[in-house]
Symmetry: C2
Amino acid sequence: MSPNLLLLLLLLLMFFSLSITSSLSSPSPADSPPYLWPLPAEFSFGNETLSVDPAVALIVAGHGGGSPIVRAAFERYMGMIFKHASGRASLLARIRFLRMVEYDITSLKIVVHSGSEELQLGVDESYTLMVSKKDEQSIVGAVTIEANTVYGALRGLETFSQLCAFDYLTQSVQIYKAPWYIQDKPRFQYRGLLIDTSRHYLPIDVIKQIIESMSFAKLNVLHWHIVDEQSFPLETPTYPNLWKGAYSRWERYTVEDASEIVRFAKMRGINVMPEVDVPGHAESWGTGYPDLWPSLSCREPLDVTKNFTFDVISGILAGLLQNKLILRSGKKLLDMRKIFPFELFHLGGDEVNTDCWKNTTHVKEWLQGRNFTTKDAYKYFVLRAQQIAISKNWTPVNWEETFSSFGKYLDPRTVVHNWLVSDICQKAVAKGFRCIFSNQGYWYLDHLDVPWDEVYNTEPLHGINETSHQKLVIGGEVCMWGETADTSVVLQTIWPRAAAAAERMWSTREAVSKGNITLTALPRLHYFRCLLNNRGVPAAPVDNFYARRPPSGPGSCYAQ
Amino acid sequence: MSPNLLLLLLLLLMFFSLSITSSLSSPSPADSPPYLWPLPAEFSFGNETLSVDPAVALIVAGHGGGSPIVRAAFERYMGMIFKHASGRASLLARIRFLRMVEYDITSLKIVVHSGSEELQLGVDESYTLMVSKKDEQSIVGAVTIEANTVYGALRGLETFSQLCAFDYLTQSVQIYKAPWYIQDKPRFQYRGLLIDTSRHYLPIDVIKQIIESMSFAKLNVLHWHIVDEQSFPLETPTYPNLWKGAYSRWERYTVEDASEIVRFAKMRGINVMPEVDVPGHAESWGTGYPDLWPSLSCREPLDVTKNFTFDVISGILAGLLQNKLILRSGKKLLDMRKIFPFELFHLGGDEVNTDCWKNTTHVKEWLQGRNFTTKDAYKYFVLRAQQIAISKNWTPVNWEETFSSFGKYLDPRTVVHNWLVSDICQKAVAKGFRCIFSNQGYWYLDHLDVPWDEVYNTEPLHGINETSHQKLVIGGEVCMWGETADTSVVLQTIWPRAAAAAERMWSTREAVSKGNITLTALPRLHYFRCLLNNRGVPAAPVDNFYARRPPSGPGSCYAQ
């Protein structure tokens, strides 16, 4: 038995003896604050109220404790927790220095066992959080977060921040119902949110706001649907005319912008999965390279007949650049594989209408020459694109139509992305594929008439009963398609409903499936929406039937 | 002649000889970027394109040049300008160090003549901004901002930031149409935005987002309508039960929060004018002190008969505190006059329905005893409240009903705040009062059916022809009433229409009144809305007939 395990057992015993209303095995419904969202896998609490020192010290341990990711997250969360005290080094801290005030909690210990900062699918996000009164006898500090990876520590910090509440009467940050013992981990390894920067360009600062807000709900994949038929905003060093398909000269992302977004997300434990959707949804490619269009009257799907089409796809995925100018001089090499280190790359493949291929002479001849139906050509295109991604060490993700149309030909590593048919994951995992669940009836956030409870009650494993099959559902994703959501409304269309899916994907199936969710989840969701508001995220009222409707009259955040 | 003036003249001569399309006296319509908003008072430009060094050096001069306000603003603006280059100390800066790139503009000189940081009504916000290619012969740097106060320097920095555009092809920040010579100052000294934290609580971070966005449009007064009948969120140390009228224990502002908001605003050259609206719009006061209600069935207006009512008003305005607990111990003294240093304090006085005074026995008797009509009592209340504010060295502001009802009794220092009747400023200034213009038909932002051009074409001086009268209109204010605007929608209800009013109030009357605004203003407003989006502010599409409507389909920010 490792010293850590021993320590944990000792602490467990200690907490059980202290806890007044211990409920480790049966999470209590949200009867009073603190309201945690998403609900941790296991937790127990007591009945004490503890004050937290605004100058709380960070103590780190373990191979990963000293990571800058941990330090930066600690500083971020201290800023959120001590917002009302005008910063940690304020008057309050000075008063404490004069020994006028004694706090119950004066240090936060973060133990991270692994020194690796690699953020990949299935990274260990588990953590243990212990909060108790400082005790001279105690061998640990008052608050301890223990995790195998820095990303587990980030999740623990988020939970800790939700335990902290500013009490306006004493004007101090307090933790209610201590001591707390929380042992937590996600149910699904992939908990995504799609954004769509083709239908409307989203500025970098807005993408960062979205990423930051995702971390509050413990979502961990930003599915970046970069390109679609309307615009091509991303710089592609190998084919520099592609972003001529942007809406304007200003609505673009440089390769450095993409890197910065990935870096910003990683600091919050969030992977970025890019999507380049082929062969449909790609008309904008031809603005820069008209040869990619079968003809001027057939601009989509991309021309399946030309090697040039696949050279461009390969060029996008490679991104190797020999002569890119920086500031009118200088050279650099950029490898898209390094810019997007997440193993998954989404190749789209949805809604491919091949009618105009049939009506374009050279494509028609090519089909006849190969004895291909248009469906064969669609398959040929998708499989060839898959091989390009695989050759560059990516795992391909495709929308479900590829599986429905020619599933047995897909590379077995393919992750099938559900959106259209409710039982497609059931079918895909039965064939051994991994699957991401995004049932459009409930998890498409641009469907404004889906209230929070329908989002919440949508279960990715519905109808999938064998454990081996369940394991192949790597998770789910809510999709914020951009046709009617630009910068002005994107965050309030995402929140609070994305949070409903986030709890479904993080918390235990038992916790989110039983009881009356009006009692077990709704009060906590109200509270979480207000927490988002307090952190500057314009989450919409929870009770609106139509998403993002403004409130109809005056009132409290907590009752909307 | 001072050395500075001499220098200015020399530079002027130099610029005139350089400028290709100089148009100092006749501002050109927005034919191409850079699009400045609001339009400066006087400007000329040329036809050169200059690159700006991401490591641009700040050089300060003058008594106020070393102000931390200037330094902090410089850092903020550099962050906005060089967003796409991953920060100023990035790869690009290193490349420059290796002398691979030479920039045209490598330094920004800020000259501030006055060392005073006092921010009051009428503070000098004028500035001169000169941008030209670095010249070995030149005695000044490539960019110079010269201002009498730090607040003028802030306005100049905003204008400079709008001249800078990230060019995606060269991947550098460029200034088009240089050399620039801009001499600028506001038309009105008071350019306000009202927020309402009673109908919906706005978290501190959201108020900060609003303040930050105001500075982009050169607005300079946040009118904080703190309290109303629905909730009383502000801590009042002298009457600690008042904020029991908050919506919840979390929807509150401490005195420190208020201080922090004022400090944050000052750093951006924005004054905060608090409003405590009496005697109507005050029902929430009685939650903590039911004696303030005439009776349980008459909760508004406040009880005019009791000295206690005026003691509470005096207590709110004093804020002196003898025994306030901080963190369960310690004492502090807080003076509201120091927390809100702006000379104006808004006492409301609007929409006072005195019917229930008449139906409350003790009030009725009090009226009879003094031979007062209810209108007399309303006058008595407002005047007594004014004297309390004046005794604490504030200048009272009152909504126009006080002027309409008993104007000749108002303290002559009173600033009359228009909202209801379109010619009230005309009447008020004729009587020698100062006036703030907020015509509700056009400048109430909660009226969603007023498109941008109607906001833009609303002229505060309409019908006021004598210069001495015009001078008494200190400015105007757009009002973001909170009944249907909470955190989830407040910013997109404010923007972009508040910008239309901001230009009306900043730029010369001639510039905003002549020509076809679809040509002279609309392209620049589109651009400004996208600038707000790029800075993370969710400004709504400009072309929507109804404010804050999301876009109806895919498209570019610049064409919505």
